[in-house]
């Protein structure tokens, strides 16, 4: 069973800034790709790595307009194990 996935106001701002940094033609694909990636995370958050001071984090990549992007996020799992709250979304240097 999937967790409910939600974004904090900080992660939402990160997401908006990342989308705004893309050429207009690539934004829609990027939004779809991030949504799909976060839904995969919600299906199995225990598979995440632990980095950034031991916080669970999840890396994903997607292709838009022939260009591959590498992004990641950090998140928290609620104590009742119902929600995954994304705390920060960021670009990963390759």
């Amino acid at each position: 069973m999937s967790y409910e996935i939600e974004l904090t106001d900080v992660a939402l701002e990160d997401f908006q800034n990342l989308i705004d940094s893309l050429p207009t033609a690539r934004r829609r694909d990027a939004i779809d790709a991030v949504e799909a990636a976060l839904q995969r995370l919600a299906a199995n958050p225990r598979l995440a790595q632990h980095e950034h001071l031991g916080r669970p984090s999840y890396r994903f990549n997607f292709i838009s307009d022939g260009v591959r992007y590498h992004w990641g996020c950090t998140f928290l799992i609620s104590q009742d194990e119902i929600q995954v709250s994304v705390t920060h979304i960021f670009r990963i240097p390759m």
Partner: protein, 192 residues
């Protein structure tokens, strides 16, 4: 209110986390905290200037000055324990309360170092952790350790930012959150 240097505050923090710790391990915890802080914040927590000493990274002059500061402020004591031919100097925090001046990010770095490395014995801490860190790999015995190479690369305002992650954690705790589907629908509307 007692005021302490950054160096003394870092030592006192780790003494509270590991009462009775020896000087050598204490210096290594400070080194690891500075390394993590440089990695995520681009600056160290303490003002130690580490040299590749006989027992690893150490700033003898600043360390002993910070230790004296703690003793004078009544915030730490020291005992000697003989182990074979070796005398270990163990440091203990006193019960006197102290208010640290660390930022939230610095406090989380210190917590991380304490929770990750305090359970390791001296050999594991040295051989498996400290001596494997990049500045120590590049350091020459007796010389200053090139700590700056641990500083995070700057320039990507959209890259990982520890302070933003911590702000996000505060938001999650305060329930300043929105469901993913609501966010993506809104962004799709904006993207048109």
């Amino acid at each position: 209110m007692t005021t302490l240097s950054r160096n003394a505050q870092v030592l006192r923090y780790f003494l509270e986390a590991a009462p009775g710790v020896g000087r050598t391990k204490l210096a290594k915890y400070a080194y690891l905290a500075d390394l993590e802080a440089r990695k995520y914040l681009g600056r160290p927590v303490s003002e130690f200037r580490y040299v590749f000493d006989r027992h690893g990274p150490f700033d003898a002059k600043a360390f002993f000055a910070a230790k004296q500061e703690l003793h004078h402020a009544g915030l730490a004591t020291e005992s000697e324990v003989t182990i074979g031919s070796y005398v270990e100097h163990r440091m203990h925090p006193t019960n006197r309360a102290f208010e640290y001046t660390f930022s939230l990010a610095e406090a989380r770095v210190l917590e991380y170092v304490a929770s990750t490395y305090l359970s390791l014995n001296a050999r594991e801490l040295c051989e498996d952790v400290v001596y494997m860190t990049e500045p120590m790999v590049q350091a020459k015995p007796g010389k200053q350790i090139p700590m700056r190479i641990a500083n995070r690369p700057t320039g990507d305002r959209l890259g990982f930012d520890l302070e933003r992650m911590l702000a996000g954690e505060v938001s999650a705790e305060a329930r300043r959150v929105r469901p993913l589907s609501a966010v993506t629908n809104e962004l799709r509307d904006r993207a048109h």
